[in-house]
C-alpha cells in the first residue's frame, strides 16, 4: 500500500485526529499495519487505543523485542494489539537506543503486560519503568546477561 492509502486507514485516521504528532511512521507489510512511535507517547496512546469506544484495542496479545545490533537505535519493542469490536490487529513499535533501554510500562492499561514485560526484561534487558516487579522470569535470578540480544555468545562457556 502507498503511504497516502495507509493514512486513510480508520485507526490511523483516528490517531491522527487525537494527536497529529504521536504516530511517527505508518508501515505496512503483508496486510499488517505497524505504527512507529516515540516512547514518550506510548502510555497515552495505549490508554487511548484501549479505551476509545470506537477502537477498543482492549486485548494485548504480545510484547516482543527485536535486537537490530549493531544498528542504532538498536531495539524495537513491538506491541501486538487486538480489538474484538473491530476484529482488527495492530502493531505498535517503539525504537530504543542501545544505551538507553528504558520504556514506560503499560501494565496499568493491559494487566497482562506484567509477564510479557518481565520476559522482555529477562531476555533483552529492556527496563520497563513503573513495572511493580521487574525480575527475571524464565532464567534464574542470578543469571548474567540477556540471551536474546544479538551480541550474546551462542557457544563457549559462560
Amino acid at each position: 500500500m502507498e503511504p497516502q492509502e495507509l493514512e486513510k486507514d480508520a485507526v490511523v485516521g483516528k490517531l491522527r485526529q487525537w494527536d497529529a504528532q504521536a504516530v511517527a511512521e505508518v508501515l505496512e507489510f503483508r496486510g499488517e499495519i505497524t505504527l512507529v512511535l516515540h516512547r514518550k507517547h506510548l502510555r497515552a496512546m495505549a490508554e487511548y487505543l484501549a479505551t476509545e469506544p470506537s477502537l477498543r484495542f482492549s486485548f494485548l496479545s504480545d510484547i516482543t523485542t527485536v535486537d537490530r545490533f549493531p544498528m542504532e537505535p538498536r531495539f524495537e519493542v513491538n506491541y501486538h494489539l487486538l480489538s474484538f469490536d473491530l476484529t482488527k490487529r495492530l502493531r505498535l513499535k517503539v525504537r530504543l537506543a542501545g544505551d538507553d533501554v528504558v520504556i514506560p510500562s503499560v501494565i496499568a492499561v493491559w494487566p497482562t503486560a506484567n509477564w510479557h514485560e518481565r520476559e522482555n526484561f529477562d531476555l533483552f534487558g529492556i527496563r520497563f519503568e513503573g513495572h511493580p516487579d521487574l525480575s527475571r522470569i524464565l532464567l534464574p535470578d542470578d543469571w548474567e546477561g540477556h540471551p536474546l540480544r544479538k551480541d550474546y555468545p551462542t557457544e563457549g562457556h559462560r
Partner: protein, 409 residues
C-alpha cells in the same frame, strides 16, 4: 521483586487468626509435584489451608527455542516447534509454517489446507483428551484418565501413520505437507471420528452430573470476562468466561471460513464452565473433521509450486538439472524471504498461539517469537487461586490447561 523477596516478604508478614496474630506459612508446590503437569512451581502463602497469595514460578523447562531458531534455516526450525507444545505438535507446526508462508507470500494448495485442518482438529481432540484425563485424575477421578488415553492412542496411531512419528510429527512444512498422505488415511480417521461421540458421551456420564466433580469444579477458579480480557486469557479460558472469540472465526486461516462450526461458550467462568467448553469443543472439532473429509480431494498437489523454496519431488530431482540444483540449494543454504515482519495467529487447543517472525532477507529467521497461550493463561493463576483452599489450587492449575514446554519454551 524476585522469588526470594516474595518468600521473605511472606515470612515477615503477620495475619490475624482466631488464636491471635500469626505468621503465614510459605509452601512450595512443585516444581516436582504430580498435579503441576510438569515443572511448574507455585509459591503459596497460606493461612491454614487458605491461599493468601500464589506466585507461579516458571522457567524450569526453558530451552531457548527462540534463540535456537535464529541459527537455523526456516525449514529446520519446524522440528523445534514440535517441542514447544508437545501435546499439540501439529498446531505449532501449522502456526510456524503459516507465518513463514505469509512472510514469503506463498499460496498453499487447497488439498494441503484441508488436510491441515483435519489434522489440527484431531490435535485439538488429543490435547483436550489429555487435559480431561489429567484434570480428572488431579481431582480424584481415576477412570476418566484411562478412557481418555485409550482414545488418544487411536489418534496417535493416525499421526504415526501419516508422518511416521507419534509426537514430534513435523508433518506440516512451509508450502504444504511433508509427504503425500497415505491413501487410506480418511478411512482410519473415519473410524476414530465415528467412535468418538460415543466416547465423549461416556466421559460425560462419568463427570458432567457427578456430584463430586461438580463440587470440585463449580464456583472454583472464577475468571470474570473483564479480567479474562485484561489478563490476556485466550482459548477455552476466554470462552468459559462468556466471550465468544475464536481466531478460526475472527481471522480465518487454512480456509476455516469454509467450515461450519459453532464457538461453544459458557458464562459462569469457573472450572466447570471451562470443562463444558472443552467437551463441546471436541464435538465441534469432530464436525469440522467430517466436513474436511468431504472436502479433501483424493488427487492434487500436497504442496505449493515454488522453485527455490519448496524442495522438488524425488523424481524431479533425479531427472532434471534444475531440480537437482534447487534440491541442493534448499538443503544446504535454505531460502531467503524478503525482509519484513509478520505476526501469524492460530487457535491452538489452548488458545491464541502467535508466531512473530522478523526476516532480514537472509536464509535464517532474524527473530522468532512464540506467543504461547499457556504462558499468558498461567498468569491468571494467582487470580483464580487466591482466597481458595490448597485443593482448589490443583483444580485451578488443571483448568488453565498448561503445558510447561509451551510456558517456558
Amino acid at each position: 521483586m524476585g522469588d526470594a523477596e516474595f518468600i521473605a516478604a511472606a515470612a515477615a508478614a503477620t495475619i490475624d487468626t482466631a488464636a491471635g496474630p500469626a505468621q503465614p506459612m510459605v509452601l512450595n508446590m512443585g516444581p516436582q509435584h504430580p498435579s503441576t503437569h510438569g515443572v511448574l512451581r507455585v509459591i503459596l502463602e497460606l493461612d491454614g489451608e487458605t491461599v493468601l497469595k500464589a506466585r507461579p514460578v516458571i522457567g524450569y523447562l526453558h530451552t531457548g527455542i527462540e534463540k535456537s531458531c535464529e541459527s537455523k534455516t526456516y525449514s529446520q526450525c519446524i522440528t523445534l516447534t514440535d517441542r514447544i507444545d508437545y501435546l499439540a505438535p501439529l498446531s505449532n507446526n501449522l502456526c510456524f509454517c503459516l507465518a513463514a508462508e505469509k512472510l514469503i507470500g506463498l499460496e498453499v494448495p487447497k488439498r494441503a489446507q484441508y488436510i491441515r485442518v483435519l489434522l489440527t482438529e484431531l490435535t485439538r481432540i488429543t490435547s483436550h483428551l489429555v487435559w480431561l484425563g489429567t484434570h480428572a485424575i488431579d481431582l480424584g477421578a481415576m477412570s476418566v484418565f484411562l478412557y481418555c488415553f485409550r482414545e488418544r492412542e487411536e489418534i496417535m496411531k493416525i499421526y504415526e501413520y501419516v508422518s511416521g512419528q507419534r509426537m514430534m510429527t513435523s508433518y506440516f512444512r512451509i508450502g504444504g505437507l511433508a509427504l503425500e498422505p497415505p491413501p487410506d488415511l480418511l478411512d482410519r480417521v473415519r473410524r476414530v471420528v465415528d467412535a468418538m461421540p460415543g466416547h465423549i458421551d461416556e466421559y460425560e456420564t462419568l463427570l458432567t452430573e457427578n456430584r463430586i466433580w461438580m463440587g470440585r469444579t463449580k464456583g472454583i477458579g472464577i475468571l470474570k470476562p473483564e479480567d479474562a480480557i485484561a489478563m490476556g486469557a485466550s482459548g477455552p479460558m476466554l470462552r468459559g468466561s462468556g466471550i465468544a472469540y475464536d481466531t478460526r472465526k475472527a481471522f480465518p486461516y487454512c480456509s476455516y471460513e469454509e467450515f461450519d462450526f459453532n464457538i461453544p461458550t459458557q458464562t459462569a467462568g469457573d472450572c466447570y464452565a471451562r470443562y463444558q467448553v472443552r467437551v463441546a469443543e471436541m464435538r465441534e472439532s469432530l464436525k469440522i473433521i467430517r466436513q474436511a473429509m468431504e472436502k479433501i480431494p483424493s488427487q492434487g498437489p500436497f504442496r505449493a509450486e515454488a522453485p527455490g523454496i519448496i524442495p522438488p519431488s524425488r523424481e524431479e530431482m533425479k531427472a532434471s538439472i534444475e531440480g537437482l540444483i534447487y534440491h541442493f540449494k534448499i538443503f544446504t543454504e535454505g531460502f531467503a524471504p524478503p525482509p519484513g515482519e509478520v505476526y501469524q495467529v492460530i487457535e491452538s487447543p489452548r488458545g491464541e498461539l502467535g508466531v512473530f517472525m522478523a526476516s532480514d532477507g537472509s536464509a535464517k529467521p532474524y527473530r522468532v517469537k512464540f506467543r504461547t497461550p499457556s504462558f499468558v493463561n498461567l498468569q491468571t493463576l494467582s487470580k483464580l487461586a487466591e482466597g481458595r483452599l490448597i485443593a482448589d489450587v490443583v483444580a485451578c492449575i488443571g483448568t488453565t490447561d498448561i503445558v510447561l514446554g509451551e510456558v517456558d519454551r
